[in-house]
Amino acid sequence: MNMFRDLFITTLLLVSLGMPFTVSADVVVDAVIAAKAHPHDVAAIAAAAARKDPGAAASIAAALSREAPGSAASIAKAVATVAPQAGAAITTAVIAAVSK
């Protein structure tokens, strides 16, 4: 009985690890700031985060554009490359972020 229970828990754990996880835009921004990333690297970091969680692409692009407005265009392009279906949302979010 214990063997089946362990097998169930382990399977559940492995399945959950294999599932796509959500990326918080705030966490990405915190990581960029903590790492003192060069502005030119921010776009690559944004793309990597958006690739992991395409659903958060627009919020990630907006949050990083707010922190590095000089790189807003490159951030928008990099994120749109990996999450093209979110193009309109990325445009709206980044324009709003750099307009404030």
Binding site: D41, A47, K77, A88
Partner: protein, 175 residues
């Protein structure tokens, strides 16, 4: 139930989970390192049009099909125009200049979106005028008040049809 063994198994599962999470974090960092992207100047322009063009460049470089790209580009144009209606004119012209084959689709999508969201028809007319005059290689026509009235008399679905819109503009042109 052997409690010490159960605790040991639980501890092992926790360790396994922690190690897996750590590996996932490293994978994200490694992916960021491997993603090459050309650097841009720190003082890069960041107006609505420039942002829209940057997103469109990204869409062009993506793995989308050509048909999907057309729709996505038109949606980006509309989103940028909606975010800054006062610049809709320039946004539409900039995108149409870079992607002449999409000029009509961009124009009709911008107009459709602005009208749908209650923006003034003046902005829509200006957008169309800009697209037709700045993109002369593709349309080579000048829109007039009369031709705009002719367009606006048609149904919304007609205005949203690029081929039909172009035909109306051509028929209404003084040339």
């Amino acid at each position: 139930m052997n409690t010490p063994i159960l605790k040991l198994r639980t501890a092992l599962l926790v360790v396994l989970f922690t190690l897996s999470s750590s590996l996932a974090s490293h994978a994200v960092a490694a992916e960021a390192d491997s993603f090459a992207f050309p650097a841009v100047a720190a003082d890069a322009p960041r107006g609505a049009g420039q942002i829209a063009l940057a997103v469109i460049d990204g869409i062009e470089a993506s793995a989308m099909t050509d048909e999907q790209k057309k729709v996505a580009i038109a949606e980006v144009a509309a989103a940028a125009a909606l975010a800054n209606p006062g610049a809709a004119n320039a946004i539409g012209a900039a995108i149409a200049d870079k992607y002449p084959a999409l000029a009509s689709l961009v124009a009709s999508t911008i107009i459709h979106t602005l009208n749908d969201t209650g923006k003034s028809s003046y902005v829509s007319r200006q957008t169309m005028a800009s697209l037709t005059t700045n993109n002369t290689a593709y349309i080579n026509l000048h829109i007039t008040e009369a031709s705009w009235d002719q367009i606006s008399n048609y149904s919304e679905s007609t205005v949203n049809n690029p081929a039909m819109t172009r035909a109306i503009i051509q028929s209404a042109s003084p040339n």
